[in-house]
């Protein structure tokens, strides 16, 4: 076995130019796939971060039934915020912060100008831990200060109503019974939207929201921060066990379906590209090996004559293919890794649709993905080698020996 490997390696070195060309084609393909994967990782990380750590939060607790009509921001069913419930949530392993919220629609007025607004009333001290990116999205001004009646407005609607820092903002909405009410807040900060729907956002302290909606001590949802964003499902399940029936616990993935779908589509597209490239590479390797078999007919005949088994001939060509596959793919993965690292130094600026400002994408690539690409290439190469190797192993010795 070991002897065949050495022989296979030398046979590859035999037609150096052809081997290098095959390797180069494979390497370029793998490099492209790794590069695109790295860029997509960055892009998806940004999108996911935007929702999971920027607006929605990693894990959410609602009253059962709330999610069915979530789009219309209903005020019922809502959650009574008892110290016991909050303490139990805080005690779940993996939970870093507990931020009760009220989400509702209303009107925002500065002077004579009034606009439609999506209002989030949040716990001003807990919320930045649950959604740390809220501070990053602050384009100007300050985040909510504890004990003050502040507001952070989307920069687009702030411009729409002519709100400057320090402006008095009147918020009007109907309470749970439909009776209209209003509160006053002071505009302290302006946020850049990561997506279209956030352009109309107004963030105020939870207390002010409860006052406006006459829902003292209540919230429509509780957002939970987590230690590890890749582990949200486990946290969700633990939280669900703690709160028991009557509550629905979701992850950002369950709620922000658009982001999840975009991610799935991008991944499927990359899979397709990978598949097509693999098919092309397969044919390249098959062709290289087939040429090599045809050139070595008499040599194969000699090997058979002196007692080499057909499966050893088969093995020889499979090894040659495997080496080509692993070598080319490793080279490509390393090159792709280099490209990703290079792009990551400065980041790639990109403005997602609906976003207020361009955002920085930091491409990343995981070793597991590169290892998988190498393994896939090796497997592909072995498959590609089957026909040529089978052809070589099936040669008739007398004819093979007579070949020129």
């Amino acid at each position: 076995m070991g002897r065949l490997v050495g022989l296979a390696a030398r046979n590859l070195a035999r037609n150096r130019r052809r081997t290098l060309l095959t390797l180069a084609a494979l390497a370029v393909g793998v490099m492209a796939v790794v590069g695109v994967r790295g860029f997509l990782n960055g892009l998806q990380g940004m999108l996911i971060g935007g929702v999971a750590e920027g607006t929605i939060g990693p894990v959410l607790v609602h009253r059962t039934g709330y999610l069915q009509s979530m789009e219309s921001n209903p005020l019922t069913p809502n959650i009574l915020l008892t110290p016991d419930l909050l303490a139990r949530l805080r005690a779940v392993p993996g939970v870093t912060a507990v931020s009760p919220r009220l989400g509702f629609a209303g009107m925002a007025s500065v002077g004579d100008e009034t606009v439609f607004a999506i209002i989030s009333a949040v716990d001003e001290s807990q919320e930045p831990t649950v959604c740390p990116r809220r501070r990053e999205y602050l384009a100007e001004g300050d985040w909510l200060q504890p004990g003050r009646d502040d507001a952070v407005m989307g920069m687009e609607i702030a411009r729409g109503v002519g709100a400057k820092a320090g402006a008095r903002l009147a918020l009007i909405s109907g309470d749970a019974e439909g009776v209209m009410n209003a509160v006053d807040v002071t505009v302290r900060g302006f946020s850049a939207a990561a997506a279209q729907m956030e352009r109309r956002s107004v963030v105020i302290p939870l207390r002010k929201g409860q006052e406006l909606l006459r829902l003292e001590g209540r919230a429509t949802e509780i957002a939970l921060g987590v230690t590890d964003l890749s582990d949200v499902e486990a946290v969700r399940d633990r939280v669900a066990a703690v709160v028991g029936p009557g509550f629905e616990v979701s992850t950002w993935k369950d709620v922000a379906t658009t982001v999840r779908d975009v991610q799935a589509t991008q991944n499927a597209a990359l899979d397709l590209i990978t598949f097509i490239f693999m098919a092309i590479m397969l044919m390249g390797i098959a062709n290289t090996l087939l040429m090599s078999v045809l050139e070595r007919v008499r040599e194969i005949g000699t090997m058979l004559a002196v007692g080499t088994r057909r499966r050893q001939i088969l093995g020889l060509f499979l090894w040659e293919a495997l080496m080509l596959g692993v070598l080319g793919a490793t080279l490509g993965a390393l090159l792709g890794f280099g490209v990703v690292q290079l792009l990551a130094v400065k980041g790639v600026m990109l403005q997602p649709p609906g976003a207020s400002l361009p955002q920085k994408i930091i491409p990343v690539i995981h070793v597991v993905f590169m290892v998988r690409m190498v393994a896939l290439s090796a497997a592909g190469a072995a498959v590609a080698a089957v026909y040529p190797a089978w052809k070589a192993a099936g040669l008739r010795p007398v004819q093979a020996l007579a070949a020129v």
């Binding site: 030398r10 008499r298 040599e299 000699t302 058979l304 004559a305 002196v306 007692g307 010795p397």
Partner: protein, 231 residues
């Protein structure tokens, strides 16, 4: 017991719709330690005969016993071990493996065995055989760095390294000039005399036949004892 024994061996090739009757009832035997030349004009069936004796091809009819084992009808694949252990091959065009050096080419038949001997034992024997055929100074050369005569010596060493019962050579000197041819024949004669290696080789060069201890003539698909007068 003769080393090989052929009885009424026929070989027919199918060429399109025509049947080419290459061997038409060959009877012959070779004893251990003999040095035998098969001679005959081009197309007379020398290669066909040697391919059958070398277990590379199946006969159509008749009987072929190698060391008392009937092998004529056995499939090529099943005879890999028989060829590897009992037969050494020398080809007209040398047929060395170009990516291997002299020693590695010589070792090759030993290395491909399913249970090879220890690497050191094989290497030592290959070195010894290379020495015996006069290649001591070029053991690490690749075939393309050797002359035709040296290449054929490598092939002879490769054929001898397994200590085969029989060494078959199909026109081993056809690609060599006359001086080199004589050297190769002398080498084979010497190996036959000193080490008792059994040789059976074919040629249609009448100059070569005069060296042989035993000459078989093949014509019209039949083998007869002695040099044919037509040469």
């Amino acid at each position: 017991m003769p080393l090989i024994q052929l009885k009424d061996v026929h070989k027919e090739y199918l060429l399109g719709e025509n049947v080419v009757h290459a061997l038409k009832g060959v009877d012959m035997s070779v004893e251990k330690g003999e040095f035998t030349v098969v001679t005959g004009p081009s197309g007379s069936g020398k290669s066909t005969l040697l391919n059958i004796i070398g277990c590379l091809d199946r006969l159509t009819r008749g009987s072929y016993k190698l060391e008392d084992q009937e092998v004529g009808q056995t499939d090529f694949d099943e005879l890999a071990d028989v060829r590897n252990h009992k037969i050494g091959f020398i080809f007209q065009s040398f047929n060395l493996i170009p990516v291997l050096d002299v020693l590695e080419n010589v070792e090759f038949p030993c290395l491909i065995r399913s249970k090879p001997e220890p690497r050191k034992v094989i290497r030592e024997r290959a070195r010894q055989v290379a020495e015996d055929v006069g290649l001591g100074s070029v053991v690490h050369h690749r075939p393309d760095q050797l002359s035709g005569g040296q290449r054929q010596r490598v092939a002879i060493a490769r054929a001898l390294v397994t200590h085969p019962s029989l060494v078959l050579a199909d026109e081993p000197t056809a690609n060599l000039d006359s001086v080199t041819s004589n050297q190769i024949i002398d080498l084979m004669l010497k190996l036959n005399a000193d080490k008792g290696v059994t040789f059976l080789f074919s040629t249609h060069d009448p100059r070569v036949t005069k060296h042989a201890r035993r000459v078989l003539s093949i014509s019209d698909g039949k083998v007869s004892e002695g040099a044919n007068d037509s040469h």
